[in-house]
């Protein structure tokens, strides 16, 4: 069975003034894959995420989702002269949907620093994610003309919380939860948008080995249960090596390596990027 292509980035470049944060990045995520994007701090991983989710408009390049171009841009105006990346003139369309449109297409994300609705309850956090697919307008919602829809939303949200083992916390204030649970809730909230592709930005940041182990199993589990493809940024190398099908390595915005975990692990350029250039090979 040939794997269906879910996400494809083609020559994506993101330039802030004179700084090229992401330079000519191309990557692919296929159906059911867990793909990791790694690299030293400041390599442009989160910027790449933000280009995919519509937070930034890339300066040049195209992002396709399920085979359809979703985001596309080319240098315009002042950028035509200032552009330092490659492949200028390759793209002609301008497609720049806002983040909510991209979420509606089926890409959900979590954030590096957890962004829960911290004053609201756990249940409300998940329920809010159901809002965008609700078939009711502001009038029918206010005057409760479509109770079935509201009930369906609540049932779906509750079912999701039960699946994720968070049901007993449903009335807790999200901001009061322990860190590990907040991470889980953020993923649960992302799942509530019914995504086909999940973007995880450092899901294991700040976790101890025990929690990281649990997270690994959790990610495997949700991929199977929800038929997801996952693209994640992560620094915990043991997690990345254990979990991912393929790895992309960024350094200074440039893609320097890609392949299976074992290929990447032994790639001299990756070792160089992470450990610096070895002056003498004695130790």
């Amino acid at each position: 069975m040939s794997k269906e292509n879910i996400l494809r980035l083609e020559h994506v470049t993101m330039q802030f003034g004179g700084v090229v944060a992401v330079n000519d990045l191309s990557l692919e995520v296929n159906q059911g894959e867990i793909v990791a994007l790694i690299g030293p701090n400041g390599a442009g991983k989160t910027t790449a995420f933000n280009c995919i989710t519509g937070v930034y408009e890339p300066t040049n390049g195209r992002v396709s989702f399920l085979g359809q171009p979703m985001v596309e841009n080319h240098p315009q105006g002042k950028m035509v002269k200032e552009y330092q990346g490659e492949n200028q003139g390759m793209f002609t369309q301008v497609l720049s949907p806002t983040p909510d449109k991209i979420t509606q297409l089926g890409i959900a994300r979590t954030f590096q620093n957890i962004r829960l609705f911290s004053a609201l309850s756990v249940f409300d956090n998940v329920l809010i994610a159901k809002h965008m697919r609700a078939r009711q307008n502001v009038f029918s919602a206010t005057f409760r003309l479509n109770r079935a829809e509201e009930k369906r939303m609540r049932q779906e949200a509750m079912a999701l919380l039960e699946e994720q083992g968070l049901a007993h916390l449903k009335d807790e204030v999200a901001g009061s939860l322990p860190y590990g649970i907040q991470r889980r809730l953020e993923i649960a909230r992302a799942l509530a948008t019914q995504p086909k592709l999940l973007l995880l930005d450092e899901p294991a940041a700040g976790m101890n080995p025990q929690e990281t182990q649990e997270l690994t199993e959790f990610i495997h589990k949700i991929r199977g249960e929800y038929g997801l493809s996952i693209l994640m940024i992560e620094h915990h190398m043991d997690l990345v090596m254990r979990i991912s099908d393929r790895i992309y390595v960024l350094d200074f915005g440039k893609l320097i390596a890609q392949g299976t975990p074992s290929e990447v692990q032994n790639n001299p350029r990756v070792i160089e990027a992470y450990l610096g250039v070895a002056d003498d090979a004695e130790d």
């Binding site: 962004r115 609705f117 911290s118 159901k130 809002h131 965008m132 502001v138 206010t142 901001g175 909230r189």
Partner: protein, 457 residues
């Protein structure tokens, strides 16, 4: 199955409370009609300050709740409320001046450009249909005009955040005020003059053929409209859209990542808030019996903002409660501070009461300050200052007791606002989250899980 049992209980409690308030208002207002003016205390007479306060507070509570919807629930800091009230008030006034009165009202401009009146279209102010349909329709149209203008200025302005949005909306309110005073618009807005002879709350009193009042509904009417509108806002807040608004308040970026269209939802909240501000403005025009642009200044917006802050940003019941306290204090309870008052007899009860209150306030505040110092282990000299000031005030107090006659110190024209400002400063300093925080009165009835504030401690 998952329908929140607690929220249903809360809804029932809210409805019961609203009905109780309406009933209470009708009974209070009509005691003097039923029992005769001699049989009731003077505070219940129709001319009493009480009913003025209740009417104004009902109108203000609606505007405060509409501002809370925007500032407290959507997190958009807007200061345009007075501008939208003005739009509502003028729309209402222009549409309800009786045709027969147009020439006298608009005498400077030789009559009005709007040559119809909604109540007259439905049979005139004297008929029930003309009165109710005409007035209610005009109020609703007032809201719609405000919402329409909100939509127009929302397009450019809602891209801004926090302080910038506040400045832009404040500017809009000032522009609107200036435009409505423009002479060239005179045939419609009556220029800088007020539009008078519009139907007021008193038109809703039921009278018999001789013109004697049978049933007073002049306080009931603003309460009814305000309660209906607040109920709609509460239902909106508890709906899926309300949750989306709260999500935007909590974290715009996360809300957008959850598929919430920021531009659309902000606009929705802004327009709905302005709609109810417009309705509030129309009611305010009914309350003051005229529409005049120079009344709707930024001071009015600040009053509303103050109410929202004192009541608790993000609490509907807090806003309502704070409105009544605020209006009662500023219009009624603190009025005595504006008059110089002297007690000649040492045994005058008011004099004794004043002395006791003064002593209690001095001792209480000093004790509180010293305890705070002790707790935080602050510098010795601060404690010393509290002691010295406290002692001086007590010496003054002894002088009050000894001296035969007593004029209340400071009480003179304008002192009310000084005391009022001090009270507000105390509220803001010591009860930063307002009276209710983000809780509703139903949360107090049926204990809810701990709030974020309690957890943070």
């Amino acid at each position: 199955m998952i329908q929140d049992r607690k929220s249903r209980k809360g809804a029932v409690a809210g409805v019961v409370f609203a009905l109780a308030v309406l009933l209470l208002v009708v009974v209070l207002e009509n005691l003097s009609t039923f029992l005769g003016t001699g049989a009731v205390p003077s505070v219940l007479l129709p001319t009493s300050q009480l009913f003025q306060v209740l009417k104004k507070a009902a109108v203000y509570s609606l505007v405060a709740v509409s501002m809370n919807l925007l500032n407290g629930f959507t997190g958009l800091f807007s200061l345009g409320q007075a501008g939208f009230m003005l739009l509502g008030a003028y729309t209402y006034a222009i549409l309800t001046v009786p045709v027969s009165a147009k020439d006298t009202v608009y005498y400077l401009y030789g009559g009005s450009a709007v040559n119809f009146s909604l109540p007259d279209l439905f049979g005139g102010l004297d008929t029930p249909t003309g009165l109710i349909l005409g007035v209610v329709l005009a109020i609703l149209l007032g809201g719609c005009v405000a919402a329409f203008f909100a939509f127009l200025i929302g397009l450019p302005v809602l891209r801004l955040k926090s302080d910038y949005l506040a400045i832009a909306t404040l500017g809009f309110a000032e522009i609107i005020r200036a435009v409505f005073q423009w002479q060239a618009l005179g045939p419609v807005t009556n220029g800088a003059n007020m539009i008078t002879q519009i139907p007021s709350f008193n038109n809703f009193n039921l009278t018999d053929a001789n013109g004697t009042v049978i049933l007073r509904l002049s306080t009931f009417f603003p309460f009814l409209i305000a309660i209906l509108c607040i109920a709609v806002i509460v239902m909106l807040i508890n709906s899926s859209y309300g949750r989306a608004f709260k999500a935007i308040r909590e974290d715009e970026i996360a809300a957008e990542a959850m598929g919430i269209n920021l531009a659309k939802h902000k606009m929705l909240s802004f327009c709905i808030s302005s709609f109810f501000a417009g309705v509030g403005g129309a009611l305010f025009a009914m309350f003051v019996n005229n529409a005049q642009a120079k009344v709707y200044t930024s001071t009015m917006t600040y009053e509303i903002l103050l109410i929202v802050v004192i009541g608790g940003i993000g609490s509907i019941s807090g806003s309502c409660l704070a409105t009544f306290l605020y209006v009662a204090c500023s219009e009624w309870w603190l009025r005595f501070l504006d008059n110089t008052q002297a007690f000649s007899s040492p045994t005058d009860m008011s004099r004794i009461l004043f002395i006791v209150l003064f002593a209690a306030a001095v001792v209480g505040v000093s004790a509180m300050l010293i305890r705070r110092r002790r707790k935080t282990g602050d510098a010795f000299w601060k404690e010393l200052i509290v002691w010295i000031v406290g002692l001086l005030l007590m010496v003054w107090w002894v002088w009050f007791i000894i001296s035969g006659s007593l004029t209340i110190p400071f009480a003179r024209n304008g002192f009310r606002m000084v005391v009022f400002s001090i009270i507000i400063m105390i509220v803001v300093l010591f009860f930063r989250r307002g009276m209710m925080g983000d809780k509703e009165f139903t949360d107090l009835l049926f204990r809810r899980k701990k709030t974020s504030e309690e957890v943070a401690k």
